[in-house]
């Protein structure tokens, strides 16, 4: 399936559901690795591995605060991530509106005679 080579790493990074969960959590603000572990129910090594992948494609950045490593979504990435989270419902809303349009065209809006 054709896909540009330069986008495939980032695409694969966010195709993984757990990494999308991480981005969704970070969309609300900076979190520590411990916060993410607690909210995701994963082990720390698992969370760290996902964060490393996201760092490699620059979707998250980190800074050290005291003894903690804090992660945040890279600013420009915030909007598309947010769009993804709401994307499913919006996709189906729009899709079923198009179906509704088609049904109206096919079957017009003339009222049906009342059933006896």
């Amino acid at each position: 399936m054709p896909r540009a080579a330069t986008t495939s790493d980032a695409f694969n990074a966010v195709a993984e559901p757990r990494r999308r969960e991480i981005l969704d959590l970070l969309a609300s603000g900076e979190l520590s690795v411990g916060d993410l572990v607690a909210q995701l129910g994963l082990t720390q090594p698992q969370v760290s591995k996902h964060l490393q992948v996201l760092r490699q494609v620059d979707l998250v950045r980190s800074r050290t605060v005291g003894r903690q490593r804090m992660y945040r979504v890279n600013g420009p990435a915030l909007k598309p991530v947010h769009d993804w989270v709401t994307g499913f419902e919006r996709t189906w809303n729009e899709r079923l509106d198009r179906l509704d349009d088609l049904l109206t065209t096919l079957h017009n809006t003339d009222p049906q005679p009342e059933q006896e």
């Binding site: 540009a4 559901p17 757990r18 969960e21 990435a77 919006r90 189906w92 049904l103 096919l106």
Partner: protein, 160 residues
Amino acid sequence: MNTTTRHGSAIVTTPSDTEILIRRTFDCPAAAIFDAWTTPEHVRQWWGTEDAPLVVCEIDLRVGGTWRYVVAFPDGNELGWHGTYRDIQRPNGLVSTEVWEPFPEGEAVNTMTLSEEDGTTTMTVRVQHSSKENRDGHLNSGMESGMQDVLDRLEDLVRS
């Protein structure tokens, strides 16, 4: 009396850890909706968008028959789904599997039911995944909508 106003939004809920439920009501007999779901010439008119139309729409409507949809984006990228029909009960029910091709291990079972009363039909589509992880990935993907913008932005990020 039918009007041209819509019944409102599709409602998406998660009745369990592994399911997605999509519901919407239409001013239309169940048979008309069933046919619009299972006729390629019709599906092409509502599944994709103007920017990302369906370029492949194959439906072999029989138990054990397969279906495949492919959406094409302006830059040439394509996304596909396919599956097999398991149960066909026109006009009220349709059960099929669905695989989103970038994630082939996440096969789901879709159960569509159409319940008609007084010319109004309530459609429910229940998407049953094999795990919470797959269900969450599907729900959070948003990959079907605005894919091109997303890929462009990711490309900018990766290159910057």
